[in-house]
């Protein structure tokens, strides 16, 4: 069976600069794959190449190797109905109202103003920020801004029928970084629900327990190279975490979900 996202031997070189003549590698022959309905987390220490891989999938940086997304359109506007990307940092500093920010997600769509507004409100409600709808984005707290951006990205691929060929991909770079415990959970549940409707999700995550609880697969990156790739319980183990983060951990089984739980020693 063909994977929805098939990544083979992807290598990304750093932009050559005067200071480092040696062509340094940001990502070295990394391969992995994601199916529709699956959540893949990318874990690894800072600077391991997680965001670089995510950007390569998003089409933002040049790479050698092959990234194949099944059914992906070439035309930018149609493609935007299939792939939504949440960057690590948002630079928006204009006083849009929250609903306006989320509404930007509907630019590639032709679903009509009424339906767009409905989707915006549904996305806001899903991220638990319906009450902020009329507030100015610039006046929000960091976590609230993050939830607005998440709502925007979700609204971009909200309905399966909008996406050509039904291909929907969600790329998230550290989506939980600014969120409190409750909203981290809320977000991960929303992502699971989206995946259950056939979306392929790739996300960079630093919280290994959150990853272990909600993701299907994990890709561990270390020094621009792939350390491990596979089912979440295959990747998250003592040895891998030791080599990734240089910490001693113990892995136990979650009493309810049977997923691995990492305990620092």
């Amino acid at each position: 069976m063909k994977h929805l996202i098939d990544i083979q031997n992807v290598t990304v070189m750093a932009k050559p600069s005067r200071r480092n003549n040696a062509h340094s590698c940001l990502l070295n022959t990394v391969s992995c794959h994601v199916d529709a309905g699956e959540v893949l987390v990318i874990i690894g220490p800072n600077g391991a190449g997680k965001s670089t891989l995510l950007n390569a999938i998003a089409g933002d940086n040049q790479f050698s190797g092959c990234i194949e997304i099944n059914g992906l359109e070439n035309e930018p506007k149609l493609r935007a109905r299939q792939i939504a990307v949440l960057p690590q940092l948002s630079l928006l500093n204009f006083p849009y109202r929250v609903a306006e920010v989320v509404g930007l997600a509907r630019i590639p769509h032709n679903t009509g103003r009424r339906r767009d507004n409905e989707i915006v409100q549904e996305a806001l409600a899903l991220m638990d920020i319906g009450f902020l709808s009329d507030r100015l984005y610039t006046e929000l707290s960091g976590g609230e801004k993050q939830r607005v951006q998440l709502a925007r990205v979700l609204a971009q691929i909200w309905q399966k029928e909008d996406a050509p060929n039904g291909t929907r991909v969600l790329l998230l770079d550290e989506p939980t970084a600014a969120l409190d415990l409750g909203h981290q959970r809320l977000l991960m549940q929303a992502i699971r629900k989206l995946a259950s409707h056939g979306v392929a999700v790739v996300m960079v995550l630093h919280d290994v327990n959150l990853a272990a609880r909600y993701a299907d697969k994990a890709l561990a990156l270390l020094c621009s190279e792939r350390l491990a790739f596979g089912r979440i319980d295959e990747v998250i183990n003592k040895e891998n975490l030791k080599s990734l983060f240089e910490v001693e951990v113990e892995i136990i089984q979650h009493p309810l979900h049977k997923s691995p739980v990492v305990i620092g020693l």
Partner: protein
């Protein structure tokens, strides 16, 4: 349970926006009439309207006030309106493109380049300019337009490499070129004689006193094209405020949009500076002020900034002509004096008015 929202609040924002937009449009004909009626001789509004109707219906009128309005004030008011509208909309576009609410069209080097071009023309062809065959577009204006275009081309080249155009680099390159062109103008002022010095510095302050129907025709062609095209980029500019890669992920061809916007702004500001000198403040303050009132959505911001710019320049020019009549002040001085306090009060009280 989250779906129920207060529908009133949305409507009130929309209503606010509608009031501001309607007020701006209502002010446009009023300030146009004011510009036509006031001057060294005042004409009552009713007579102004009467002579306007005469003008457009082709009636020959011989009264003195009719002549003043038709031959002197009408072209001048039209020039002021078009230049103001162009500066306003180009300012709004620049601020969106640079994602900086305090950016100004002069940041990409147009204004300084045009000044240098004009100064060069005054310096080296000073005696020729009065003999120029073009009565509408004098040699100085041509020099200014060429200078402005050259500056933008250089800035754009500096900021573009194989990875695309960096907006941040463009801003810095604009500052560098502005400094370079500014010092060139200063050198010319230093070596020029009294008469040149006076002409260069008057030109830099900006003025609409050269208004003629030929100039109006030129600026009208540019304005109509630019005012028609720029609003088509509203959605793109809205998305660009999120960031360039975000805009790309929303399906926009960011690089080609950037090129088109820079060219349009350069042409718009270039023709303004060429025909009316450097008029400070309109391109910076008007969009900023309109944004405070109605928010950053370019679908409303662009047209309203154009209207606001036209209103500000019409009123400023009327004041420039009348306040120390019969002497005329440079209009650039008046735009700053008129707009700055208003802007400061908006900044200080924006929270009280519930503005953005």
């Amino acid at each position: 349970m989250h779906a129920t929202r207060n529908p009133l609040s949305v409507n009130s924002h929309g209503a606010n926006r509608r009031i501001v937009i309607c007020a701006a449009w209502a002010l446009l004909p009023i300030s146009f009439l004011i510009a036509l009626s006031f001057g060294t001789i005042s004409v009552p509004f009713s007579n102004t309207i009467g002579s306007l109707i005469d003008t457009f219906s082709g009636h020959d009128s011989s009264s003195r006030s009719d002549l003043v309005i038709q031959q002197i004030r009408l072209p001048r008011a039209l020039l002021a309106g078009f230049v103001g509208a162009l500066l306003g909309i180009c300012g709004a576009t620049t601020q969106g493109l640079f994602r900086n609410p305090l950016a100004d069209p002069s940041l990409i080097g147009v204004t300084a380049g045009a000044s240098a071009g004009a100064a060069l023309t005054i310096f080296f062809a000073g005696s020729l300019t009065t003999l120029s065959g073009f009565s509408g577009l004098s040699l100085v204006s041509l020099g200014a337009f060429i200078g402005g275009s050259l500056a933008v081309i250089i800035v754009y080249r500096l900021a573009t490499n194989t990875h695309g155009t960096s907006v941040a680099t463009m801003l810095l390159a604009g500052i560098a070129i502005t400094a370079l062109a500014g010092s060139l103008t200063n050198i010319l002022e230093f070596f020029g004689d009294e008469e040149m010095l006076r002409r260069i510095s008057l030109w830099r302050m900006g003025g609409l006193d050269g208004a003629s129907y030929q100039r109006v025709a030129i600026v009208a062609v540019f304005s109509l094209v630019i005012l028609a095209i720029l609003p088509r980029f509203s959605t793109s500019l809205n998305a660009l405020l999120l960031g360039e890669s975000e805009a790309r992920h929303l399906g926009l061809s960011v690089q080609s949009i950037k090129i088109k916007l820079v060219l349009l702004v350069a042409a718009g500001v270039g023709v303004c500076v060429a025909l009316a000198g450097t008029i400070a403040f309109v391109g910076l303050i008007i969009p900023h002020m309109i944004r405070l009132l109605i928010g950053p959505d370019h679908r409303y911001l662009l047209p309203t900034s154009a209207v606001g710019g036209a209103v500000l320049l019409l009123l400023s020019d009327t004041i420039a002509r009348t306040i120390v009549s019969p002497i005329e002040l440079p209009v650039g001085l008046v735009t700053a004096i008129l707009g700055a306090p208003f802007f400061i009060s908006l900044l200080r009280h924006r929270h009280e008015f519930g503005m953005r």
